[in-house]
């Protein structure tokens, strides 16, 4: 690069900037010695940090402290939830071998569930979603009713990571409660932007991770009801009520707790501010690239959509070309899709929502966060028309050669 372009980060759903307070807390903690499982003074001190963090996190999530099981992050929490519930429920009753999940789950759930099907004789039932990316309760209800006795667990994400569509978690719990089927929800994307009330929703298990809300990468939690049996993935020292062995990182959980606390404290102010930025972004895109299509639920707020995510299709363009061209100008966005061998694949979420292959490949996810500014949005809007024009030209070359 000959000139240094201002860096604009619009990928907060991938990971967001850390709260400086969380960094500070962690720095102090990293400089102290002590294993929270040790019995001596240093251990007691570390344990106090861990338990105070646990209490704060529980309070902020509407859960009891003993329900917070620390682990390495969202992927591990999801694996522990779905495999742990499946194994425990099936071992209590071998007939329970069916897992119900939605077609728009993150790979961190989709893959463990398909693994259970491939290796643990699980039968899986995929619940379809509507065009906005919201799970169809009628279909879920039908799937449960086909044989409620054989369902091991139901999992449905709280808010989708590509569209931001908020799922009817309470209603899912309602459907399951009649048959005492445990329900897990992946709340990784929701936790930074919605008030989560674990007890209030009646969920049995819920995944959160620190780095999506301004905490460190490498720590998260599975919030899981005390009464619920789950089989651990990791065996060892018996930490985290035997559900997750391994030394708990006091600095990590302290950073996690600080970040969650700040996030919740600022939510009433930052939510509307971020929503206003998203509105500026979406209106701006409609203005500068009139053919662009804004996807997902147009309405914001609980029951609709997260305030920070905008998902947009740019007809005739390839998402990865757009991404590359914006990146070259210092603007960082996501195609929202998973890569296989580094090759962008059309997202299973978009395909499940009824997108065609081209539209699925020609979309970008813009996600805002607590550090986003109007200048970030304006820089994107300034670059977008020329970038789209180039990407369209590249799309034409491609359709000629292939």
């Amino acid at each position: 690069m000959t000139e240094i372009a201002p860096s604009v980060y619009l990928d907060h759903a991938a990971t967001t900037s850390m709260w400086p307070e969380a960094v500070e807390v962690m720095q102090q903690e990293f400089l102290r010695t002590g294993n929270p499982s040790s019995l001596h003074e240093a251990g007691r001190r570390a344990r106090r940090v861990v338990e105070e963090s646990r209490e704060l996190i529980a309070e902020r999530l509407g859960a009891r402290p003993s329900e917070v099981v620390f682990c390495s992050g969202g992927t591990e929490a999801n694996n522990l939830a779905i495999k742990g519930l499946y194994w425990a429920r099936r071992s209590a009753n071998p007939l329970r071998n069916r897992v119900l999940f939605s077609s728009i789950e993150h790979h961190a759930l989709l893959d463990p569930v398909t693994w259970l099907a491939a290796h643990e004789q699980a039968r899986i039932d995929v619940t379809p979603v509507d065009q906005q990316g919201r799970i169809r309760l009628d279909a879920l209800s039908e799937a449960i009713d086909s044989n409620p006795a054989d369902v091991a667990a139901i999992t449905t994400m709280w808010a989708n990571n590509e569209m931001g569509t908020i799922q009817p978690v309470r209603e899912v719990v309602e459907l399951a409660r009649a048959h005492q089927i445990p329900v897990h929800s992946d709340a990784v994307q929701a936790a930074g932007y919605l008030e989560l009330d674990f007890a209030g929703t009646g969920l049995d298990a819920m995944t959160v991770t620190a780095h999506k809300l301004g905490g460190p990468v490498g720590v998260g939690a599975l919030v899981i009801r005390r009464e619920l049996d789950a089989t651990p993935l990791l065996h060892g020292g018996g930490q985290e009520r035997d559900l997750r062995s391994g030394t708990v990182g006091a600095a990590l959980v302290a950073g996690f707790a600080t970040a969650l606390d700040l996030t919740v404290q600022h939510q009433s102010e930052s939510g509307p501010r971020i929503e206003a930025l998203r509105d500026r972004l979406v209106r701006g895109i409609e203005r500068v690239v009139p053919e662009a299509i804004i996807n997902g639920d147009p309405e914001t707020g609980p029951g609709h959509r997260l305030p920070n995510i905008a998902h947009v299709t740019f007809p005739g363009c390839e998402g990865d070309a757009l991404l590359m061209l914006l990146d070259a100008q210092g603007v960082q966005v996501s195609t929202g899709s998973a890569c296989q061998a580094g090759v962008p694949q059309p997202s299973h979420v978009l395909l499940a929502m009824g997108f065609g292959d081209a539209a699925a490949r020609g979309s970008l996810r813009f996600s805002l966060g607590h550090t986003s500014t109007a200048a970030d949005v304006d820089r994107l809007l300034e670059l977008l028309p020329a970038v789209c024009e180039r990407a369209r030209a590249a799309g034409l070359v491609r359709s000629r050669t292939s």
Binding site: L325, A328, C339, G342, R390, A393, A394, T401
Partner: protein
Amino acid sequence: MRVIAAMSGGVDSAVAAARAVEAGHEVTGVHLALSRNPKSYRTGARGCCSIEDAGDARRAADAIGIPFFVWDMSDEFADEVVDDFIAEYTAGRTPNPCLRCNEKIKFAAVLDRALALGFDGVVTGHYARLVENDGVVEMHRAEDHGKDQSYVLGVLTQDQLRRSLFPLGDDPKTTVRAEAAQRGLQVANKPDSHDICFISDGDNAGWLEDKLGAQPGPIVDETGAEVGSHTGAFAFTIGQRRGLRLGVPADDGKPRYVLDIEPVTRTVTVGPRERLAISRIEAIKPLWCGEAPTTELDCTVQLRAHGSEHRARVTVDGDQVIVELHDPAEGIAPGQACVIYDRTRVVGSATIARTAWVEPVGSAN
């Protein structure tokens, strides 16, 4: 220039990208995903399409400090290179897929996409030299003749050459490896890749039989007498000696070679080595690096990858190129490229269509 560096994950393309950055170009690394079902790990010295190779390329780009992306060219590669490879063998010819890939993918589909995205050209780790002479970009053999890859680049036209950078053409491979190590590139000691990248075990005949099924036919000698059988004529190449598994030994007890492959009747003809000699080649579909020659050329030709040079008289007649060799050559297979050189300069290339024995022009002198 704003260029993309095609990065295979090997040492050459990594050093080429680093040199392009140092030369002041604005470089973006691109790894081409060519396989529809990439393997996780590289096996031996074959291929460049495993996920591990993509990771090596990414690591090199990070170390050089350039943006890096993977471009999925697997559909284009399947259509233009793999399908063509199968079709050529089916027709009894011996294709060169590397040449084809350069012609249709690296310096065509990839370059076109790069240009559309606002880049000016492509830099690769090929060993060849580009020299600008009087407004024309000439391609010459690399300084390191052992590594020279101008043969597989012989299909590039002037437009493509103007958009290309080959920063390694002046150096021997050992220098390039040493430089990679000095630059801290992890790929410095990675083995070179050989063979055909999409045939991971190197068993071309087995791969073709998987794709095409068994297509048995006879192996006959020059008199037409059946001396063996095969499960697919596509497994053979003109000049091949090994793997014939003939039931009937030759009268003179000498080894026999594949002389001809007739795809319709699937007849493979074998005979003594002397019969492999040819001295006249008709080649088609010429591609010229600059202007097409208008007069008879006294030049040299290379008739296969890593093959030797042959002195020749070349006459161009529209889409047909007649090559008369000074001295006979052996084992020249239709389908291979005849690349024409004026000393070290690549003039152009054409695909060998037919070969024949006539009194070589050299013997008349």
